[in-house]
């Protein structure tokens, strides 16, 4: 029935393609050219003398270290989320107790708490705990702020497991623990990968917690490195864009190979 092409929407999407594609082109082109070339011929021209100096320059100003720190933070945040959220979602979906429904309500309200809102007391708590300027002090709050959305996404996935399977396992005399490991975890793999994508992106792209809770170069994460680079080398635009490109490279590579999983993960962030 709907065979005719949708011209207005098609035009809108082409416009959007230019809006997204052009900046990305300018960025990638700029990273391959010299500062003089960029200043003389403008951002939209084609690069002339190709160079990789903008990338090596970023590494010279510490980006290797920042990468390593960001990887540590991301892996640990995903680890904490994977350790805590599946049992939580299991209880939310299967337990019938009043306490559990209160807990679920608490996490729903938790969706409302923006990181900015708690940053002052977080600074106080982390300093008091002696974790200021320590990657653990970034990992813990970042993971905590991934919990509400992850719980929501995963409990949604677990709800799709058919009740008959639980009944059948009950007949076999399975304990809640056995059901969790043999039924719930294997059958909610889709939801599990979604929460991994979601929390890894949160951790990789996190800015406010590292900004306020770390200080020295040895604990700097990549977003913070980028921010510093910008304040220090603001006029070296090709160098700056080289650093930006480096910071997004890992995510872009994963996106190239696992586009579907990533997009579905992002879709999960928006609720339904």
């Amino acid at each position: 029935m709907r065979q005719r092409p949708n011209y207005p929407a098609g035009a809108g999407s082409l416009l959007w393609l230019v809006l997204v594609g052009l900046p990305l082109y300018v960025m990638l082109a700029a990273t391959l050219r010299t500062r003089q070339d960029y200043a003389k011929n403008g951002p939209l021209s084609f690069p002339r003398d190709l160079t990789l100096d903008n990338y090596t320059g970023a590494f010279d100003s510490g980006f290797g270290r920042y990468f390593l720190n960001t990887i540590v933070v991301t892996v640990c945040v995903v680890g904490v989320v994977l350790l805590l959220v599946p049992p939580l979602a299991y209880a939310i979906v299967r337990s019938r107790g009043r306490v559990t429904s209160q807990i679920f309500r608490l996490f729903l309200l938790g969706l409302a708490i923006p990181a900015q809102a708690v940053i002052v007391p977080m600074f106080y708590l982390i300093s008091e705990a002696g974790l200021y300027d320590n990657l653990l002090g970034v990992i813990l709050p970042t993971a905590a702020f991934c919990l509400p959305m992850s719980a929501l996404i995963l409990s949604g996935a677990m709800r799709d497991i058919s009740p008959e399977l639980f009944e059948a396992m009950t007949m076999d005399g399975a304990s809640p623990r056995r059901m969790f490991f043999q039924l719930v975890v294997p059958l909610s793999r889709g939801g599990l990968s979604t929460i991994v994508v979601f929390s890894a992106l949160q951790a990789w792209n996190g800015f406010l917690f590292p900004l306020v809770l770390t200080q020295s170069d040895s604990t700097k994460v990549i977003t913070l490195g980028l921010y510093n680079f910008q304040t220090e080398h603001g006029i070296d635009i090709p160098g700056l864009l080289g650093a930006v490109t480096l910071s997004m490279m890992p995510v872009l590579l994963v996106y190239l190979f696992a586009r579907r999983a990533l997009v579905q993960g992002l879709m999960g962030m928006g609720g339904k």
Binding site: P23, L83, A112, I113, P148, F180, F207, L208
Partner: protein, 317 residues
């Protein structure tokens, strides 16, 4: 104390008698008790709920970041309510949020409905569309700061369109840049929401409309849009919460300037607390943000049906 919380294994069901009491064997199956939810809940309470309570307490205290906080009553509140920059920051926050909703909503509906269709090049195009969504706000802001640089950026090359090329020098254009950059970054996300919802619209409705002779535009306004109603609300509420808590974009693109012309509340809170070492006033501003976000999210829970336990895979392609 904190490491203990993280390394604790998932709450195992208590063996023996306790388990039977908690997980009664019923016709509908053995069920887990609330202990399974406990580790996550304690962790979340420690790092989100406790600070949330503390922000309320700190808003009545004076603290400069060193030493101990001291109780000062409503002093902080009086100061921020008398502060013209604070009042201005609230208006700016509301303005930027409204601009974001007004720009992103129509754009993401059109793109989302388009992406839900069956065009030939859709897959390739939409792969590029979603790239901004993967980038950190920091990367996006630094990228646009570079592209819009007054001396070397795109506006400096197109003076016929951008005047002197310094978009950050005036309030109107600086606000325009901030609204544009968040639209650039978040439209793909809202497009995803609409794409999922548009796919879920029953095709029968379009078939019936086609038989009645309704054209494409009538179908869009009389079928597609009404069917997207819940998604419009969900997406708008997410935009509002996002708008209230915009931070990196302002910090990196405008530093709140020129003057205080783009100093929105979240940025002002950061400045007060972490630049001015006035953590009491910072907490009071933060508490205002919490209240605003809570009101909006209570609406999201009500309207979107999160609390009615819907399947999250609905509408996922």
């Amino acid at each position: 104390m904190t490491t203990q919380t993280t390394s604790a294994p998932p709450a195992a069901p208590v063996p023996g008698k306790a388990r039977r009491a908690e997980a009664p064997y019923t016709a509908r199956g053995t069920r887990p008790g609330f202990l399974w939810a406990l580790p996550a809940t304690l962790f979340f309470a420690l790092f989100a709920i406790v600070p949330l309570i503390m922000v309320a307490v700190l808003s009545f205290m004076s603290w400069n970041g060193l030493g101990s906080p001291r109780f000062v009553g409503t002093d902080n509140w009086q100061r921020i309510l008398d502060d013209p920059v604070m009042i201005k920051s609230i208006w700016l926050t509301l303005l930027l949020t409204a601009l974001g909703v007004a720009l992103q909503t129509p754009l993401s509906i059109v793109l989302g409905v388009w992406a839900a269709g069956h065009q030939r090049n859709r897959a390739v195009l939409s792969a590029i569309y979603f790239v901004p969504l993967l980038l950190s706000s920091t990367a996006v802001s630094v990228l646009w700061r570079a592209l819009l640089d007054p001396n070397f950026g795109i506006p400096a090359r197109m003076t016929w369109l951008f005047g002197d090329g310094n978009l950050f020098g005036e309030q109107a254009s600086a606000i325009g840049v901030l609204a544009f950059v968040s639209t650039w970054q978040f439209t793909p996300f809202h497009t995803l929401i609409y794409q999922g919802a548009a796919r879920a619209v029953p095709q029968v409705l379009y078939q019936a409309a086609a038989i009645d002779g309704a054209g494409r535009y009538r179908q869009f306004f009389h079928i597609t849009l009404p069917q997207l109603r819940t998604s419009v609300i969900t997406s708008m509420i997410l935009m509002i919460v996002g708008g209230l808590t915009t931070f990196e974009t302002v910090l990196i693109l405008t530093q709140g300037g020129p003057g205080t012309d783009t100093t929105i509340s979240a940025y002002y809170m950061y400045q007060k607390a972490f630049k001015g070492f006035d953590f009491g006033a910072g907490s009071a501003i933060a508490l205002c943000l919490v209240l605003a976000a809570t009101v909006v999210s209570l609406i999201v829970v009500r309207v979107s049906g999160y609390d009615r336990m819907r399947s999250s895979t609905e509408g996922v392609s």
